[in-house]
Amino acid sequence: MFCIAAFIVLVLMAAVSARYRRYLGKAWNCTLRRVTFRPCDTTFKQDIKDHLLAPLAVRRPGLVGPASVALEVVALLVVLTTVWSAYVVVKSGVNLYVYGTCNKQDSASCSLGAEACAIPDQTPTFGESLLSGDVIGAFGNDFASLGETFSAIPARMQNWDAEEYLPANASYLNAYDTEKETALEVIDPGCTYCLELFNNIEEAGFDDRMNLTYIAYPIASADGYKFKNSLLVTQYLEALRLNPLDGAATPVDWEILRRIYTEDNDQGVSWQSVFNGAEPDAATALLQDWSAEFGLSPEEVTTVASVAASAEVADIIAANTQMVEERIHTVKIPSIIFEGRRHDGLVSVDDLK
């Protein structure tokens, strides 16, 4: 173990100083033999240990024994942490490629990918499992997660066609044009990055080039939903899709989304923030007021409210959730599919142009 640790350390030191390169060959030979379960045939390990311990031996020879044991322990830790680090690097790299985040369980914590609202993984983290004494679960969950990521690589490499993932009753921001390509957003009405994406889309004129539609996906959390009224808004959006307003230039569900994402209330607070902080009754009232404002009759508003609470809408939302989690396989909201790719997280104006 010691010569493996020494090799690891020497690789790093040799990278910055030629002085240590002469030892690399010896360390490598020793390491090669150790990893192939053969005894090291040089005194390299002993030489390194002795030279490290020599200053102590001169001052306090009685401490050489414990220090020698400590060196072995440190060597073991160096090897373990290096192996674990390598594992994490590989895992993070694959996750970054597949999901656009190096941390699949909490995508928002990874600064390497695009900004997004994370879809939290309810599986206990490695550390949480260890703390709860579930060692097997800690490794099992981690390896299972990695296996899942690897199995998703082919999907990541595929040619993404938004048409294949359209929700039931898809509504388009602008009138559907068969000449245009379809783009599909996966959004949470309460997610601030979805707000930013919508603004980018408008600024880039993306909505004019594409048939833009969406899947509303309220991000779940351990105690409900990540954003207080996302499910409620989603229910209304789906209900409005089931009951479209005849003759509307822009579907009412899109009008509501646009208002949430682009407009502020009288106090200058964005409607998205208002919804995220509002009580359900107030939010419901707002949605109904807006529906009426966008052209729905009182009867239609009542119908929409009723449908929003229906099993039909619940089924649609469940189907959409399944689509997002099992077919689109994203862990970041927003995600958007267009031009053969799935883009996870916030997409810049330039990339949308």
Binding site: L53, A57, V58, P61, V64
Partner: protein, 408 residues
């Protein structure tokens, strides 16, 4: 101060701490106890080498200009000084300079086919003897006999075992300094049975040369760097032995004439037969200075041998007093090997090095004897030189004692 071969120096004296002034360059606190590998060079030897390089750096044996003729003269003097060391005559013996003792021993074993019936050596030999005797026996197609050495260093043999034998043994062991005490008998008996004796005198030349005085051995090989000279090998051999060699290692410097498919070796210079190519002129000249120095040096006003004997006794007793240490030596010697059954000798050597104490660890190129025969772990070897002082020995033994106590 520069010296030439013509200037006689005054005898070196000891400095305040007992160290000879000729080793005053040694850093304070540094304790060098590996003279069996190579001795420290006294200042006059260093000066002689430096003088050659800076004042008359010429090739010898082939040029007519003044620097070259001076080199020839100095080298000739060096050869004579070597013979004088042993009390031998240039009419019967020649001196060749080589790379080191091992090189000389290998060169001498270009022995004629059919002349010898066996190769004899002993178990306590350095690999420089042990290995070449294997290859020589194989090349000559004769058996190889490996004999024991008694505790006093005498080779244990039956005269019949020396029948037409090539006997190759050391004069002093590099493990414990034991001497070939029956050298005279061995040479006599070997010659009586038609054999020859080749001596590895590498460890004997610094402090045990008297054993070799007027020896009738056929060849003596030693290293200048173990007797205060610069790095150089030396072979002293009889004209008869040199003339009988079937040389396969040949080149310039040893030929009288060369034709397309044949050559004539120098007829009247047997020493040149082992000196193909350009020689280490500066080192040869420095050897002469080392021999002169050895003849004059009187540490503490005492003869060198007496000084070394006193230091050896102190070292032997000092090491013997350390608990947990086992001495390989049975008596005091300038070379003393020890081991601690519970400690790794290499580790001890590294730890001692941290205190500027330089000792050797391992098997000292005597793997067969120490590993196979005695089954010992790697040893720790302390070897003294004329630079050594009682303070050096005390510093080393105290440091080792402290380590042994702390590590136990």
């Amino acid at each position: 101060m520069k010296h030439t071969g013509l200037v006689r120096r005054t005898a070196p004296v000891a400095v305040e701490d007992g160290r000879l002034t000729d080793f005053a360059y040694l850093a304070p606190g540094a304790v060098y106890l590996d003279s069996a590998c190579q001795s420290l060079r006294p200042q006059p030897v260093i000066d002689a080498l430096s003088e050659y390089y800076t004042e008359y750096n010429a090739c010898g044996g082939r040029v007519k200009y003044a620097w070259g003729t001076r080199v020839d003269r100095e080298v000739q003097d060096a050869r004579r000084a070597v013979l004088d060391l042993f009390g031998l005559s240039g009419r019967s013996h020649a001196v060749s300079f080589t790379l080191n003792t091992t090189f000389g021993l290998n060169l001498l074993q270009q022995l004629p086919q059919g002349r010898f019936g066996r190769v004899v050596t002993s178990h306590i030999e350095h690999n420089s003897v042990f290995l070449p005797t294997m290859t020589a026996a194989t090349r000559l197609g004769v058996p190889r006999l490996v004999l024991d050495r008694a505790a006093d260093g005498a080779l244990a043999y039956q005269p019949a075992q020396l029948e037409r034998a090539v006997v190759v043994v050391n004069v002093a062991s590099n493990i414990d300094g034991r001497l070939l005490t029956n050298l005279t008998d061995l040479v006599r008996d070997t010659h009586a049975h038609g054999g020859i004796v080749i001596l590895d005198a590498a460890q004997a030349m610094a402090h045990e040369r008297t054993l070799l005085a007027k020896t009738e051995a056929d060849a003596i090989c030693f290293s200048a760097h173990k007797m205060y000279g610069a790095s150089l090998g030396v072979v002293v051999a009889t004209h008869e032995l040199l003339g009988s060699l079937e040389l396969t290692f040949v080149g310039g410097g040893m030929v009288a004439d060369v034709r397309e498919d044949s050559y004539d070796l120098l007829a009247n210079d047997p020493g040149a037969l082992l000196e193909p190519g350009l020689q280490a002129w500066g080192e040869i000249i420095a050897l002469h200075r080392a021999i002169d120095w050895l003849g004059q040096v009187r540490p503490g006003g005492r003869p060198a041998a007496e000084h070394i004997e006193g230091l050896s006794q102190r070292l032997f007793e000092g090491l013997g007093d350390i608990p947990g240490l086992t001495l390989v030596n049975t008596e005091a010697s300038p070379v003393i090997s020890v081991y601690a059954p519970k400690q790794d000798s290499h580790r001890l050597a590294v730890f001692l090095s941290q205190s500027q104490i330089m000792v050797r660890s391992g098997y000292f190129c005597a793997h067969h004897y120490l590993k196979d025969q005695l089954g010992l772990p790697p040893l720790l070897r302390f070897s003294l030189g004329l630079h050594s002082t009682t303070a050096d020995i005390d510093q080393a033994t105290q440091a080792l004692a402290r380590l042994m106590k702390g590590l136990s």
